[in-house]
Symmetry: C2
């Protein structure tokens, strides 16, 4: 298809499509003349993915580029020994999760102190964790912010949040579609970003649900 049809199919303007190609987010089409190129279904899929990451995940173009690069680096593909395949998938998925998280977290400036508050929280929760994990830095910032306004979570609240996060993470893993490494990595990377807004929206809806239940006695 031509770029105009790609635009109609996906609802993304031609100017934006050209911008994504320049920025390396979308592969260029195959040239069919000096001024025209041909696009296919893979471009449609890629554009939908970019829009989802930008619109729903609210990611910057730079972050989207890094995430897409993760999807395209099949580092484990070279080997080929059947009996190692399963383990290789798990390893790759673990690495993809780490890369996804890294590209979502701003790198801390050199000399940033270790995330001690977050590490203490992890000890309370009981999950062993690599101190370099990027999400630990996010947790540190969040807890420091709560400390500053004297709304730090109690140990009980922290454990409740952790249990909720764990049940969701387990559902993420169980819900994995397909068995191919490419599918799995794609699901993990995209799912990390796109399911976060689902969880946030549901928490807000749950808050209203709870307040409605305790707030107003049934009238009849």
């Amino acid at each position: 298809m031509r770029i105009s049809e790609l635009s109609r199919t996906t609802g993304v303007t031609v100017a934006t499509i050209k911008y994504y190609i320049r920025e390396g987010l979308l592969p260029p089409g195959i040239p069919v003349s000096a001024t025209q190129a041909e696009y296919d279904g893979s471009h449609v899929d890629r554009l939908r993915l970019i829009r989802a990451l930008v619109d729903v995940g609210r990611l910057s173009i730079t972050t989207v580029r890094e995430l897409l690069a993760t999807l395209e680096t099949p580092q484990e593909e070279r080997g080929g020994q059947k009996e190692r395949e399963e383990e290789a998938i798990q390893d790759r998925v673990g690495r993809a999760v780490a890369t996804a998280h890294r590209s979502l977290s701003p790198r801390p400036p050199a000399g940033t102190p270790p995330p001690e508050r977050a590490l203490a929280a992890m000890a309370t929760i009981g999950w062993p964790v690599d101190p370099q994990t990027p999400a630990l830095r996010e947790l540190e910032t969040a807890l420091a912010g709560l400390d500053a306004v004297q709304l730090a979570p109690s140990e009980a609240t922290l454990r409740t949040y952790a249990a909720a996060a764990l049940s969701v993470a387990e559902a993420d893993v169980t819900g994995m579609p397909g068995r191919s490494p490419a599918d799995t990595v794609r699901y993990v990377v995209i799912g990390t970003v796109l399911y976060e807004p689902v969880l946030i929206a549901l928490r807000r809806l749950a808050q209203r649900h709870v307040f409605q239940q305790i707030g107003s006695p049934p009238r009849r």
Copy 2:
């Protein structure tokens, strides 16, 4: 204290403090001369709150202004009938939650179709919900994004996410400090924003925890 000391105490530059005053986020100090004003502990608290909302909550200045306005509108304060006080607090808290969510969600443009995908999800989950709830719009966007990349949640996944969100919302309510209406409203509004990054960071940490457990058998 003078503005220089307010800056030292909070780590916010004088230029930024003046910007917040101009933007109406921070009340001006009490003038003590033509060029100097006096600030107190309430300014320190307010500045820490603004920084937490900006740094941790990643909110825009406009959104912070709207949230702070919520904290300062004690619409229920006029009455005074003791027996109605408790109910008034619940009502106010419910309204504060609604206002907090509204100021966090971009208003949909006129003519936006109803969030049917999100309403269907709510029916699956079993929470009655006002179709105007702003978080419903966020859920709609998130689910539409997942549909576009063929990663829509199964009913089971949706229920797991909802159960996790509900347990967290119940902990939010149980964890409420103090009994004064002002405290309660402050906690709800700030907690909605500042606990979201905690939940997101914990979900990412939980994902790694789950993948570590299934990925690498214990070596010993």
